[in-house]
């Protein structure tokens, strides 16, 4: 019997269709259908100014908007030959790590809700709000930030942010203990998640699966360590690794990542306290249209004179490795923008980790993949 789980189904966490062939309660065959949320973001980007694409990046992944801004900005800066000041880099990492925690907490909330645990869902949403409050205090947005700019970030942090941040981090560390007690301390949770949705290391590598799914299979691969971008080589943190390759492993990896993110954030906050400075690069070309960019007379570059370039960036997004490719052929708009969505690749291996399990196992397994349909369809 074929059943359609989606496009509107509580399991999907978005807008996609998982067609499942079942015999009794056992999954025999699956057929994921994606593309319901395709908005043509890559094509629209070709028709926008470099800084206008940032708005689209927030819509690409609606739970990790600023990570995608970071991804695009790095590629765009490389293509445009712009070097941001150091403080901007640290603020970007601050944003990305905050977003990683917010995204993982959101994942935790949705994942346990799929297992029928309702209270941690609300705990997760509550704790995520704290981080969103911080985002609001310096970007103005809670979900779509439009904060990063080619050449830096839009504005500096308001005074007192770092102190408030430290308090939030302390509070979050206590909550993570609570999360673990609710999940790993529950025998039913372990029974539901152990040896479920197993995707071994060689399968992960063969299918290009990245992120927490890859690390839960025991592969030491984290772009922040392997190919440090921004200032990740200057902060001290450990890679989160598990070796069970199942849902529990992914849970453990994400939990550990949140703790490591807190560790990174503490260092970033300390650095930001000690090093005030500009957050935008000087001498930006005026046609970039950066509304808050300090544009001096001497920095005025005509676009016909501007050198061409190609930008390629890869970051460890909360869901996995995301790549961006930006081509600057001269002119106000990028000539071509291309993204690699980690979730799309992770989903393409779905038959490896879904077939053979029960229907009731589909929500936790798909929950452990952390699907964000916005970036799958783009």
């Amino acid at each position: 019997m074929w059943i359609n789980m989606g496009p509107q189904h509580p399991m999907t966490h978005g807008l996609w269709n998982l067609r499942v062939k079942i015999e009794g309660e056992i999954v025999k065959e699956i057929d994921p259908e994606m593309g319901f949320l395709h908005r043509g973001i890559e094509k629209i980007s070709e028709d926008r100014h470099y800084n206008e694409v940032i708005t689209l990046m927030d819509r690409t992944c609606y739970v990790a908007g600023i990570a995608w801004e970071h991804l695009y900005i790095q590629a765009a800066e490389q293509a445009l030959h712009v070097t941001p000041p150091a403080r901007a880099l640290w603020i970007r990492v601050l944003c990305e790590e905050m977003q990683r925690i917010a995204s993982h907490v959101m994942w935790y909330a949705a994942f346990v809700q799929d297992l029928g645990l309702m209270s941690p869902f609300l705990y997760g949403m509550r704790d995520r709000d704290l981080l969103l409050d911080h985002f609001q205090s310096f970007t103005g947005g809670r979900l779509t930030y439009e904060y990063m700019r080619v050449g830096g970030v839009r504005n500096d942090l308001p005074p007192g942010t770092t102190d408030r941040m430290r308090k939030t981090l302390d509070w979050l560390m206590d909550r993570f203990v609570e999360y673990d007690r609710l999940c790993m301390g529950s025998e039913i949770f372990r029974k539901r998640c152990d040896d479920l949705g197993v995707l071994k290391a060689n399968d992960c590598i063969a299918y290009g699966v990245t992120g927490p799914m890859l690390r839960s299979a025991g592969v030491r691969r984290d772009l922040r360590k392997d190919r440090p971008y921004a200032i990740y080589d200057q902060v001290d943190f450990d890679m989160a690794i598990a070796d069970s390759a199942d849902v529990t492993g992914r849970y453990l990896v994400r939990m550990e990542e949140m703790r490591q993110s807190v560790r990174i954030l503490r260092q970033v906050v300390d650095w930001l306290d000690k090093h005030p400075g500009p957050v935008m690069a000087p001498n930006l070309p005026r046609w970039l249209g950066a509304p808050y960019a300090p544009v001096g007379r001497e920095g005025y570059l005509l676009k016909r004179n501007y050198p061409k370039g190609v930008g390629l960036s890869a970051i460890e997004e909360p869901h996995g490795e995301a790549n961006a490719y930006v081509v600057n052929e001269g002119g106000e708009h990028p000539y071509r923008v291309k993204f690699r969505s980690p979730v799309y690749v992770n989903l393409s291996a779905a038959h490896k980790y879904l077939v053979g399990y029960h229907v009731a196992d589909i929500p936790p397994i798909m929950g452990s993949v952390d699907v964000c349909v916005g970036e799958v369809d783009r």
Binding site: M11, M118, Y123, P363
Partner: protein, 366 residues
């Protein structure tokens, strides 16, 4: 016709009946008394069910670090009445291919079969609908009708999710009937009666929860499965089956399912109180002041029932859902042996006549 005149007509009818009572033949008086008692019972059970939903929402809210319903009425007390009115006003929609008889008959029968049990359960001394010698058995038999009606409505709504939910529901309820009945046998062995009133009065020295703690655990777990509440709510697991067997139901038909679910939750809590927690009585050695005020029996009965239901809410707030095969394995391989052991314990207690600390039960012929 204004509301006042409606009241007036009702008072006139009631007064007339009361005036005529001495002149009516006895069988008619019995019928009138039964109808009035039934109406009071129906109203009481429905109001209790709705308050139970409010209680669960508030309690869940506290467990989840929020406040629950707050806006309609004081602390949201009237919220569920408002929700009920909303559901009442909604159009009920039947899928074209659905079978009418099953689609409409299933929820109705489910609701009615749940309501009937309230006619059997005693609430306090003098508040029972006659002392039936086999009332416990009758209540459990009617309680176990439910899988049939759920499966009927699931199958007839012509939806794959509904069908799967109905199958799961039937499998789960039938599997957990067995340990529940065996656990009840332990109670029956200890009290020597199938009559709920007698079972309660046999607990005047100690509650059966003390010697039959195992049976209590089995009974509570079984009741959780019968009520289809988390962690055993897999027939309506919304994550994979949307809403399980009531996916296709909306409006008042959904309200029937919802109400019947909470009715069954209330019945389950009441059965636990009656069988294991002394019903409306407190142990004989508590101060008499606690049990001598007016309606003390009903008061303690309600307190206990709501506390037991609070435990169910607590479980719901803290446990994830289990899987079908795990549920059935636990049912057959853990619950049934535990229930059998508790029957042995009951037999041992009866054989020993008296418990070391708790003393003797007069009914056991000590």
């Amino acid at each position: 016709m204004t509301v006042q005149s409606l009241y007036g007509v009702a008072a006139l009818v009631a007064g007339g009946i009361a005036y005529l009572l001495p002149f009516l033949p006895p069988w008619l008086v019995t019928i009138i008394a039964d109808v009035v008692f039934g109406a009071i019972l129906l109203a009481a059970s429905m109001i209790n069910t709705i308050v139970l939903i409010w209680y669960e929402r508030k309690l869940l809210g506290r467990f989840m670090d929020r406040r629950g319903a707050m806006h309609v009425g004081y602390a949201g007390l009237l919220q569920n009445f408002a929700d009920g009115l909303k559901l009442f006003r909604k159009n009920t929609y039947k899928p074209r291919e659905a079978d009418s008889l099953g689609f409409y008959g299933g929820p109705t029968a489910y609701m009615v079969s749940s309501l009937v049990i309230f006619g059997i359960l005693p609430i306090s001394t003098g508040w029972d609908n006659g002392s039936l010698p086999l009332s416990l058995l009758l209540a459990l038999v009617i309680f176990s009708f439910a899988p049939l009606f759920i499966f009927l409505s699931a199958w007839s709504s012509n939806n794959k999710y509904s069908l799967m939910g109905g199958m799961r529901s039937a499998a789960q309820m039938i599997a957990y009937e067995v340990p529940i009945l065996i656990a009840v046998v332990a109670v029956v062995v200890l009290s020597g009666s199938f009559d709920l009133t007698t079972i309660v009065s046999e607990q005047r020295n100690y509650w059966f929860a003390l010697p039959l703690f195992l049976a209590l655990i089995v009974f509570v777990a079984g009741m959780l499965a019968e009520m289809e509440r988390i962690p055993f709510d897999l027939p309506e697991a919304e994550a994979e089956l949307v809403e399980g067997w009531n996916t296709e139901y909306g409006g008042m038909l959904f309200a029937f399912f919802m109400l019947a679910d909470y009715l069954r939750a209330l019945i389950g809590s009441i059965l636990i109180v009656l069988l294991f927690l002394g019903g409306w009585t407190l142990p004989s050695y508590v101060p008499a002041a606690l049990t001598s005020f007016p309606l003390a029996g009903i008061f303690w009965f309600m307190v206990k029932t709501y506390l037991v239901f609070g435990v169910f809410v607590w479980v719901r707030a803290s446990l994830p859902r289990v899987r079908t095969d795990q549920l059935l394995r636990v049912g057959w391989m853990r619950m049934v042996p535990l229930a059998l052991v508790s029957v042995l314990i009951a037999a041992a207690v009866v054989a020993a006549h008296c418990l070391p600390v708790l003393g003797c039960v007069p009914g056991l012929g000590s």
